[in-house]
């Protein structure tokens, strides 16, 4: 057996195991989420208990997302040799917005787009759509306020001769971990685990964007010399409408 065959077999086994583990974890999360729903809906529940349950829901959703991150990355990696299909990011944003509110029931989330985005077709189908949700969730997690406002805009660009869409999401209360600049997440990730745990979502967003032939960077927003939030920016390959 060649080294390449060995590697492929190891990848297949890893993928198989991750898939099984992910599947079981989703089932467990389903049970936890549903019982929390029961607690929240109980007639004698106190506001404080309800608040705790709402926070627990956000954590269940987070753990779900981490599992899904790994499964999606593996799927993107295994499918990298197949031609990618198109998805309209405008629809993905609308769907992700609904999911985001279910993700963080204790927060009030408002998303505004810069005008009518129109049709924004990119390559990557469900993986690209998942990236949108991942970016939104990451931005909300970096925002400690209960009222969250996210602004979304898109613009066209060309990268390496490829037509692309640049998707920018910004939140004036999100705080990037100290020391994180642009797209240099890898060094922060390996240096300090207390920081790295806060940027898992960013790392995954970058890996997913790159697996789709795109890019992902962060930007710290500064106004009058003070840190005023963060922007997450994904550049994705443009696709023709299907």
């Amino acid at each position: 057996m060649t080294d390449m065959q060995n590697q492929r077999e190891r990848n297949d086994r890893l993928s198989f195991f991750m898939d099984l583990a992910g599947h079981d974890m989703m089932n467990s999360n389903q049970a936890v989420l549903s019982y929390l729903e029961l607690i929240m809906a109980a007639p004698d529940v106190t506001p404080k208990t309800k608040k705790y349950a709402e926070k627990a829901v956000a954590h269940v959703r987070s753990s779900t997302m981490l599992v899904e991150d790994i499964r999606r990355l593996l799927a993107a990696r295994l499918a990298s040799s197949e031609p990618m299909k198109a998805v309209n990011l405008t629809n993905s944003i609308a769907r992700s917005e609904r999911e985001l509110r279910a993700f963080f029931p204790a927060k009030k989330i408002k998303i505004t787009t810069a005008g009518n985005l129109g049709d924004v077709y990119v390559l990557g189908e469900s993986v690209a759509e998942y990236l949108i949700l991942n970016m939104l969730v990451t931005l909300v997690k970096l925002d400690i306020e209960e009222n969250v406002e996210i602004g979304i805009s898109v613009r066209e660009t060309t990268v390496g001769g490829n037509e692309c869409w640049v998707l920018r999401m910004e939140d004036q209360n999100s705080q990037l971990p100290p020391g994180l600049r642009g797209d240099d997440f890898d060094s922060v990730y390996s240096k300090d685990s207390s920081v790295s745990v806060k940027i898992t979502g960013l790392i995954f967003s970058k890996m997913i964007a790159e697996s789709l032939g795109g890019q992902f960077v962060t930007q710290e927003l500064v106004r009058q010399g003070e840190r005023r939030g963060a922007a997450l920016i994904a550049t994705l390959r443009r696709a023709r409408s299907p």
């Binding site: 992910g22 599947h23 989703m26 089932n27 999360n29 389903q30 049970a31 936890v32 989420l33 549903s34 019982y35 729903e37 029961l38 269940v60 959703r61 779900t64 899904e68 799927a75 279910a102 469900s126």
Partner: protein, 123 residues
Amino acid sequence: MTSVLIVDDELFIVELYRDILQLRGYRVVGTAFDGEEALRKYTQSPEKPDVVIMDHRMPIMNGVEATKEILRMNPAAKVIFVSADVLVEKEARDAGAVDFLPKPFRMDDLIEKMEKISDSHAQ
């Protein structure tokens, strides 16, 4: 009262759906732990359930195959697919599932979909 058949290979999931759906006023007419058992129970049941809640990854026969078989038997059957495998959504819909929910989902979302089916029955 809307009747339901629950199909999932995990006992704790079946119990969870059953408890919550009964609390919310639904009538659970049967449970099955694989696609083949679901098919058998569906066939033998004198009163067909209004809704089948169907998992995908199960031993003996998976959810997509079971959905196809149930719909072959009764094209009016309403199957709501619920699965931790998000990538199986297209296959499930192609098999005839009326809706799809990725696990973990809010029970309110499942109930909303079931109410939609009840409303369409009533009209």
